[in-house]
């Protein structure tokens, strides 16, 4: 039986009831955009953004210096080769850093730093918070990658002049694949960020997995089973360079180094899409069930 006391005399409400109020509460996706805007603003002012831009600047400076010093003929004679050398490799590396730096604590931080208590007391669905944070991390990562792209383009214009923009479609295709890789990586990062309530664990697991784990798994799979490690994101992301460098042979047998595999376009794109969809949804499921204890 419920314990209750009679309402005080003269009580009642002139404020709108839930039905009236709900009409003014925005929809899930509009709320996600609002949340992402403020979260993005927070990122732009944060030390982590300065750190990420510093990493971009250092990588850009090293590559610029190396190209200026060695002036490799194969690289500075042809736009696709130039972008294949500077953009594709650098972007893959920087996307990983952006995902970890911005996304590692995106969800775990809501629990550890208690910012979730501020957000989750509002009339928002958990999916809204998840999507809003995802968008903010995506935007912050894209800004960082665009800074790197600007450095690469600057170099390309310096060495190739107007030729830097020959076959620009190939570069755009590579950028599109890099964006797909970013989405897939963020899904993966958000999955682990939702699994842990401690940011450090989430960041460490993702960093270790990508910097060491996937490489070890890839070597073991090829070495011991002789099969193609098509299911690894770090394997699939090789297709980012294909529009610029051309598609290599799928299987290469070498009597000295053994068999090596290269993903096909289909494999690379399908695996990145798969990671994006499955890990993003998986992270959401965990976040929906996580309690603010």
């Amino acid at each position: 039986m419920s314990v209750s006391l009679p309402a005080a005399a003269g009580t009642g409400s002139t404020l709108p009831g839930p039905d009236g109020t709900l009409g003014s509460v925005p929809g899930t996706w509009r709320q996600a955009v609002v949340l992402s805007r403020y979260q993005f603003r927070d990122y732009l002012r944060s030390r982590r953004f300065v750190l990420m831009i510093s990493i971009v600047a250092v990588v850009g400076a090293i590559l610029t210096t190396l190209v200026a010093y060695f002036r490799p003929a194969g690289l500075i004679d042809n736009a696709n080769n130039f972008y294949g050398g500077l953009w594709a490799g650098g972007a893959t590396f920087l996307i990983l850093f952006a995902g970890i730096i911005f996304g590692g604590d995106a969800i775990a931080g809501e629990f550890q730093n208690k910012t979730g208590y501020f957000l989750m007391g509002l009339p928002v669905k958990r999916m809204t918070v998840y999507a809003g944070k995802y968008l903010a991390v995506l935007m912050a990562s894209i800004v960082s990658i665009l800074v790197y792209l600007a450095i690469v383009l600057g170099n390309a214009v310096y060495y190739l002049g107007g030729g830097a923009f020959n076959d620009v479609g190939q570069l755009l295709a590579s950028i599109a694949l890099a964006l797909l890789y970013l989405l897939a990586l963020m899904g993966f990062v958000f999955l682990f960020s939702s699994l842990f309530k401690t940011s450090l664990y989430a960041v460490l697991v993702v960093a270790v997995m990508f910097l060491f784990g996937f490489t070890i798994i890839q070597d073991v799979v090829i070495g011991l089973t002789g099969t193609e490690p098509w299911f690894l994101l770090s394997y699939a992301n090789q297709v980012i360079a294909y529009p610029l460098t051309g598609v290599p042979a799928h299987v290469v047998h070498n009597p000295f180094t053994g068999t090596t595999y290269n993903p096909t376009y289909f494999e690379g794109i399908a695996v990145m899409l798969g990671y994006f969809v499955l890990t993003t949804l998986g992270g959401l499921v965990f976040f929906e069930r996580e309690e603010f204890t």
Binding site: S2, S4, V25, P123
Partner: protein, 315 residues
Amino acid sequence: MAPSLEAVGLTKRFGGFTALDHLNLKLDGAKCVGFLGPNGAGKTTTLKMFTDLIFPSEGETFINGVSVQKDRKRALSVCGDLIETPEIYPSLTPREALEMSGALRGMRPEEIRSRTAEVVEEVKMSEWVDQKVGRFSKGMKQRVNIAASLLSDPEVVILDEPSTGLDPRGMAEVRNIVRGLKHERRLIFMSSHILSEVVDVCDEVALIDRGKLLFYDQLANVASRLGGGVRAVEAEFVTPVDDPTLAGPIASLPEVAGWSRLDPKRVTLQVKGGPAEQARLLQKLAALELGLVNFRESRSALEEVYLREISVGDA
């Protein structure tokens, strides 16, 4: 429709530990209800289930009749809350945090602007409204959180120990803010373990211990729980009152069941009966011309009931 909060069979288990055990509680109408209990009693657990921060093992919570578990967005749309001490994104300013909160609630930009000015003034943060939150002390952050919970002028306000982290002046200011909210037509549910805070601002009190509701009653009736329809009042006089006066003219008044001295000028009187007897006693004490300057319900009554109920639970 009057604002309401309701817990139905609310139970929360953490592994083998039952933090809340089939709580049934309905708060109905505009008033301030204090939620009391010792540490670990289940206060915060209850409030977290009212705001969907944790999920019930059994039972359900309702805000204005809307299930929080089934439709959190609709239920929380009329509710402002402050659970524990939330953190705000450190690079944002209070103005931006309130803008975000208002925008997520669907408030219009001009509403957000005007309400922001009002609530930051109310929590005395106007001077800091454009500084980054990351530089604030815990108390300052808590003021911003209180402002955020009031921004939409909500019908239902849930506060979990709102004066946590504040200095004595800040605690007094929070009490004034909560008192101010009562003048508007809203239901306030406030947990606290500071009994004087509850006495100061609440109309009703619910006491919980070990996950079970011990009682829920009007604050005015709490003293009568001491037994025999006796309530305690505190009387203060301009000059010291000697024992013969206390034992004679005062103790012999028919409304007085007993007395004890707090200091030379202050005494606690046990009053037989209810508010009517209390009013008669006030008139008679004044008529004695002993220099009565203060007469109020004893704060220790709630404390006595609290300790008695908790110790019964322990036994």
